[in-house]
């Protein structure tokens, strides 16, 4: 590390590379946090977690008892001096006692992307609520025809405030927060929709995964879906890793907009791997809202294709928006190339996904590690090789959701055992030295040493 700092100082390495390197190192050491704990305020399993996009500080958790809690991940509520753990209690919770609150299990939560003043929750009571964070009251309520399984808001949307809602109904509904009404209905799935994800590159593009095993891409300005992912259409090589990590950082930090990002990416993809893309111009047209063309996904053969042999439980785009991860109840995690819509055939080994509702995947900030909830544990995979990096064990129930806090390289997981666990890299040496002082006062607990009396 010191060498790295030195290199940065003298200009031998790029300024960002050291930080990236350190971050990547820390992410790889992630394990059950010994110094941070979230005190779950919920009486049943946690179904959904999200960290807000603006400050990357507040954790929103939805639980199966219909309660929603907000936790501060930075400022601990109190220190448990006996075990030297910072406890984070809920800043507030809302549950069925609040007027119009959810009475059944909350399946999905979503911060309003622009600020933390609002959040949206969807529940099995067929309601989608928009909450005011400061008053803890329901501001707006959407009635859905069926149980709500997934909601999503686009973090890059500049021109709309749409909440996409996937329910047990086959149609995806887009609810406009501005007008308080349902504006769109996207039909195409043959079963309920459990996973929704907005594109990271275009504010108009929505990805959805359903119980019928299909993953569909929608352009909300047009009728019907424009692509259905087929697990059998595959490409061996990945194409998104062409940019080095530093370049990607620069890309990510560039002003985010649909046109600019696609404009920047297209030439890169073209230049480096022209052979893998069959019709680059055509794909570019899909991205380009201006061009009208017939949807290849609408042909009958493609319309029937599936991405998983079971339900699709989770969708997650990579940080750069070029790849899409999907998890299904066939215990498979697949990595898709968004532009070509092909399966990259990365084999994520030994996952065990047996849920009856949508889950969440998480990706580390440089898209190097993928976190997959798998039964009672959370497994981390190397994104590109698919090799399991570690297995995070600590929950005593099914892990339902996870949220990655990129700033601190911390991971939060929610499970059916009603715990929210914090996974973090081990504390650095300097911090531990500071901690030594209060340690002397505690004599009741045993030292963690060998104690062979005989």
């Amino acid at each position: 590390m010191w060498r790295g700092l030195r290199g940065r100082e003298v200009g031998a390495t790029r300024p960002r590379s050291l930080a990236t390197h350190v971050r990547a190192d820390r992410v790889r050491q992630i394990n059950l946090s010994g110094h941070k704990e979230i005190v779950s305020a919920h009486n049943s399993g946690i179904n959904s977690l999200q960290i807000d996009c603006t400050e990357a500080r507040y954790l929103l958790a939805g639980a199966a008892d219909g309660s929603v809690g907000v936790y501060d991940t930075q400022q601990p509520t109190f220190m448990d001096s006996a075990i030297k753990v910072a406890k984070h209690e809920a800043l507030f919770t809302v549950d069925k006692s609040v007027p119009q609150g959810h009475i059944y299990s909350v399946t999905c939560v979503q911060w309003y992307p622009v600020d933390t003043g609002l959040f949206v929750t969807g529940s099995f009571d067929k309601k989608i609520n928009l909450w005011d964070t400061n008053t803890h009251q329901v501001e707006l309520q959407f009635e859905m025809p069926e149980k709500v399984h997934a909601i999503a808001m686009s973090s890059i949307a500049a021109t709309h405030m749409l909440v996409a809602a996937g329910t047990e109904d086959v149609r995806i509904r887009l609810c406009d927060l501005a007008s308080g009404a349902c504006t769109h209905t996207l039909s195409g799935h043959r079963d309920g929709v459990w996973a929704l994800q907005w594109s990271a590159t275009s504010e108009w593009v929505l990805y959805s995964g359903g119980c019928d095993g299909a993953i569909r891409f929608w352009d909300i300005r047009r009728a019907g879906c424009f692509q259905v992912l087929d697990q059998n259409r595959s490409q061996i090589e990945r194409r998104s890793n062409v940019t080095s990590s530093t370049q990607r950082q620069e890309l990510a930090s560039a002003p985010v907009g649909s046109s600019s990002t696609s404009e920047m990416q297209r030439p890169v993809a073209k230049r480096t791997k022209p052979s893998t893309v069959s019709k680059p111009s055509k794909i570019a047209k899909i991205k380009d809202p201006g061009v009208r063309r017939s949807h290849p996904g609408m042909t009958l053969a493609n319309d029937r294709s599936t991405a998983h042999h079971g339900s699709v439980t989770a969708l997650q785009t990579s940080d750069d928006g070029l790849n899409l991860f999907s998890a299904g109840t066939d215990s498979r995690v697949r990595l898709w190339d968004i532009e070509s819509g092909r399966n990259t055939l990365v084999n994520y080994e030994a996952t065990k996904i047996r849920t009856h509702q949508g889950t969440q995947l998480a990706v580390s900030m440089d898209s190097s590690l993928l976190f997959v909830p798998s039964a009672h544990s959370l497994q981390t995979y190397d994104v590109w090789s698919g090799r399991m990096h570690s297995k995070l064990v600590g929950h005593y129930g099914n892990v339902n959701c996870c949220a990655f806090l990129a700033e601190d390289q911390e991971l939060y997981t929610g499970s059916s055992d009603r715990q929210i666990l914090v996974w973090s890299p081990p504390k650095s040496v300097t911090v531990e030295d500071q901690e030594e002082v209060p340690k002397a006062g505690v004599a009741a607990v045993c030292e963690d040493e060998d104690a062979w009396s005989d």
């Binding site: 064990v393 009603r418 607990v445 060998d450």
Partner: protein, 696 residues
Amino acid sequence: MEVGEVSRDRRKLTYLIEDATVSPAKSLDIGLLQSIKALVRSSDANVRTAFDTLFDKLQRQHSQVRFLAVLLIDELFTRSKLFRSLLVPKFEMFMLLTIGYRDDFPLPKPPDRATLLRTTSMELVEKWNDTFGVHYKQVRLGYEYLKKTLRLQFPNLRAATALAEQQRQEKEARTQALILKKYESLCQNFSELRTEIHTTLDEIAECCKILELESASALEDNEPVLEADLESLVFGDDEYEEYGDSSLRRELHKEVPEQVAVTEKLKETTDNSALFETLRDLYKLVESNHLRTTQEWLSILTRVDVSDTRSRDAVLKEVIDLRTQLLGSLVKCESLGIDRTEKASTSRFTVGEVDDDIIWEPGDAEADKDLGEIASTSYAFNMEKESNNSLPSDKELHSSSAVTQSEAKKERAETGPRAELLEKAPILPYGSFLDSWGATSDVPANQRGLEMDNHWGRFDSEAMIPGDKIAEMNVRSSFYKPPEREIVPCRAPLKKGGLCPRRDLFRCPLHGPIIPRDDNGNPIRTLEIDTSAAKPADKAPMEEFSDINKEDFLSASSSSKNASSSITVADLAKEAIANVRERDEAEARKRRDEKVKAKRTQSKRDREHNDAVLRASALSGTCQELFGEEFDDVAKMRIGKKRARGGLTALLKKNPTVKERIAQRLLNGRARENAMNELARVEEARHRDAAANQWN
């Protein structure tokens, strides 16, 4: 060398753990545990091996194995850091296997051990959480999960003990405050109470003195001491204190104290009686009041916790003195014949009453006895009447009573009409039909105790089955079974010795018609008895069949024609017997002797066999528990299987700490005890063997 040692250690450890987890006991074998610990301590590789083996054991489908494994895991978990770090990642699995909190993974079979396993492991998890929860978050999470999410009831030992301790302290503080208050009041009132007691004591002393003086001047009486008669005691009582054998007298006195007291009061002069009266009152006062108060003071003074110990000690001393004085005076009083049993009686009895009692009581007893007799006879009479009444009213009823009481008949002999009835009663097999035997009442038909919807039509819940219908339904049919008859063996003497075992009805194809014979196979001439016994034998009940002698057999299995044929054979045999009897008898004797001899040798062999069996079983069953502990586990390993040896003992000998030596000595003592028990058991078994013929 290292590789070999490691593999050997591993093998040994595996064996040891295997050994430790297969016993049916509810705790670990101490010797084994010691050696396992020593072995595990020696290297990290061994810790890993131990962990792997133990986790394997945990997955066995047997709660006892799991239980012992858990105990062993606890031993290692509390000691080795490496072991902890190995177990903690698998903590969920561990809890699943030991606590069985999930329905799809229940604990395996022996249910009592399963509950034991669960409670033990919950205790352990709690303990570990208390001690290591800080360092191992998994343990803490697991504990919290069990406690808060699954809401399992933990024993919560730490809190419980703390609570108990607190309660005890509170209680102590309360009692201390109370005692202190009492002590203060005692200090205030002590002088008054002391003077009071002193006056009482003085009075008693006065009384006693006067009485002694009186008795010294009184006459002597030479009544025989042992006479327990009331009158004699009355007369002999006045001067008993002068006698050498006063102790004996005193004993007697105690036996009938009230009469003595009464008679004293009666017979004494008036001033004497008054003295006694006061003495009695004083005695009562001392016993009921003063003694108790002093006792109380004593307890207060000994328990009170005050800063000023000197004053307390002074008071305590005085109280003790007072108490001894009081006790002394009491002894004095008792020696004068005043006893605590007196208290109740003296006030009640007067002369006339005593006489009345004496007169009345025997009469009363007699009356009671008479009454009892009357009651019992009338009861018997009633019973008889009942059975008589029931006889004509219902013919089933009387048979039912006969049936139910037929068992009772064996216990107590019955007489009268009841016995006759019993004799007539049919013997029936037991069955549920006996429940409603002789019942004449109607029975509700549709009341089964269940609310049922009737799909087949209207449901009449008030439908009744009339009593006679029930009786009709209870009529039982039975089939005639011919009385069993035993077919007698032929019993003609055979050439090779013994009697002919053939069983034919009338005629043995080898030896001719079957006739009664004696033990040697000689025919018995039983002409006269035959004819007389021919008739009734047919009627003889089954039970008597075994007792029937040979004459009866013949007649039972024959007609008169057979009897006549047997007569002719008997005549012929008569002459033959006369000739050969002596020779036969000699032979028979010889044979008998041989038989006895053979029997003796057989029994001797039996006994030897039994001895051998016993010895073998004693050796094989107990040598391990006898000597295993002494020789330590190496010896055990040698006895059990061929296993790697050495190393272990070396390890143990390397550092024989004080603790180890003490443990060794303790173990030796235990082994000796075991051996003694075992010897006693063998002795007992041998005794049993001597009594029984065959015992295996």
